[in-house]
């Protein structure tokens, strides 16, 4: 089938690029975890960028979609443990929303594992490095994500 052929072509392109990972980290836990990793000077792959947010509640699902549209291969959303949110239960609200987005991403073939929603506390800095390394490995094993295609009409315009 024609589709599968074009996929193979893409797979070759995939392996050449290191995965790009975007981290939305909540200021109260995720960011402190990142800070903890930094203070230990743990060597980390430089393929991730952290966007600090006040709370994972403010991570719009649309912003995650935007991240994939802008060429990210994976997105991590890091918040506080349930019951540990500075904003009452905003983290669980975010979790439910993003779970649904994961279902959509799985449906459309991006794959639910490219969006990781995970909760931790500020003292779990060593785990930040673990999460990041494991996620990078997981994404690196996958084919590169190409969402840059537009409609066939677009090219004619």
């Amino acid at each position: 089938m024609a589709v599968e052929v074009s996929n193979n072509h893409k797979q070759q392109k995939a392996t050449e690029r290191t995965p790009r990972i975007l981290v939305f980290a909540c200021k109260w836990c995720g960011l402190i975890g990142a800070d903890g990793a930094g203070r230990k000077r743990e060597p980390l792959p430089p393929n991730f960028r952290v966007i600090p947010v006040e709370c994972v509640g403010s991570v719009e699902p649309d912003a995650v979609i935007r991240a994939f549209a802008d060429g990210m291969d994976g997105v991590i959303v890091m918040g506080c443990h349930l019951g540990g949110c500075r904003f009452n239960d905003a983290n669980h609200a975010a979790f439910k929303r993003l779970e649904l987005l994961r279902a959509l991403l799985e449906g459309v073939g991006i794959g639910r594992d490219r969006l990781l929603v995970t909760f931790g506390t500020a003292h779990e800095g060593h785990q930040f490095t673990d999460v990041l390394r494991n996620f990078t490995n997981l994404i690196a094993k996958k084919e590169s994500l190409d969402t840059s295609w537009t409609s066939s009409r677009a090219r004619m315009i």
Binding site: D35, G38, P46, I51, G57, E60
Partner: protein, 568 residues
Amino acid sequence: MKNITVFLCTCFDEINRVVDYERLCSHLSDDPRVAAVTVSRGLCVSGGAGEIGASVKSGDGRVLIAACSPLARGDQVMRDLERAGVPAFRRHLVDLREGCAWIHGNNPAAATEKALDLLNMGLTALEYKEPSADVTLKIADEVLVIGAGPAGMAAATALARCGVDVRVLERGAQPGGMLGLVSRSYPDNTDPSEKIAAFRDLAASDPRITFHSKVKIISARGYAGNFTVRFTAEGEELQAHAGAVIIATGGRVFPPKGYYRYGEVREVVSQIELEARFRKGPVKKENAVFIQCVGARCEERPYCSTICCPASIKNAMRIMDENENARVWILHRDIMMPGTTLEAYYKKAMERGVRFIRYAESDPPRILGDEAVETVEVRDDITGDRRTIPADLVVLSTPLIAGTDAEAIGDLFGIQRDSYGFFREIYPLHPVETRIDGVYICGSARWPVSSEQAMVQGEAAAMKAAALVGRQTIRASEFSRVPGAKFGHARVNEDTCSGCGNCAAVCSFDAIRLQRRSGEGEFRMVSRVIKVRCKACGNCLSVCPNGSMQMPEMNTKALYGMVGKAFS
């Protein structure tokens, strides 16, 4: 527009050891948004923030600081900038030390690339950040205390002593709450009616305390500093305008229906019924058996009610006082007597000869007898022996559960309740505060506590309320969990809002209200943000389908801009 001044901190060569600052500088000075780039050795020690603030204060200047993480010294620099008059929307911090140099020390080229991206992200965010409009509120002088049990009485007394006007609303005819139901309070063994009488006298004599009995609350609205509560007191409709509300509505005793043949055989009573007997006169019994954890620490109510063990020990000794030949057993699953006083109390009971037998939850005691209780059969969980105890009185210790009106009160004021119906304080470490600023909780409405602890909590809540109403005015931005941490509040674009109500539903702080659009015949709603309540978590903007809800300091444009520049 060239309005962004960039300050690059080298952190005494900690950062530029890895990141190529020359490249950063040349890249930044080419950027059309950047007015100037300054490299500094240590922004945090030179006290430079004040100077930075002064230099960008005029006009629309914005500052991008590239330094260490906010947890190290970054936040301190930001706070200095705040003090120097640079508000949150005009400053941005980029973490180049913990977030870049220190973790990518083995790859300087990639670290420099990353630093460039991070700076670009910061510039884009600064380009789009907007200020949230702050509001200043007047604060009403009065504090409303709902419930005149031990917690409410203590709160009202403390407030009156501080010179704060306080209005107490009590559902019953008299103050006292659960204190009025017990014969003696533990561990001091005093008659609680003295405390109630003292409060009644104070309420009558102190002009600062207004006491209303037989109160039914009709409605409550408003926010910190301005609560309006309508209620009826003895049938008369009244209104209170309060700056803060203390909720001390207490709990109630779980009735032991269906446990240990309660109601089937005589002389099987609940702890609170025993208290009533004591209040009537001496209770002379030969063999009394107390059974602990009746309907507590089970699947439905896994919590420990904390007051039943001390109460049983108190009443066990009282029975011994009234009949020196009486024998008393306490059948328990664990004796919970924490702290120095209660532990001493427990020891005293053992010395007096109260017998403690531990039973297992899986093998509870059995009540034997036809009309009245005759014996109690129990398996000692420690020795494994099965014992039959003669009994002419069995007392069932049941836990406190949420009050009957907890749900209504919670809904009126927007306070959340836990899965057992008790009011929930906010996490972490704010024991008497709720998610609604200006509404405080204390006593058994919050969690089962003894009268002594309820009083302590009442006083704590009173001090929180006094700290609020002691001020004349307050800015909405001051309502923050962490001082100085709130950076703005949500703003709704009323022209584009479709009134779907997603934001109002998801708000964790009950800060968004749906209102009918005025001046239009159509059935259309619009949301309004109560700025005082908003804590800027951003949940609302995440569920807004068309971006009508924005957090000005981190709006969609800024966020998407940062996403777009992440790997540029």
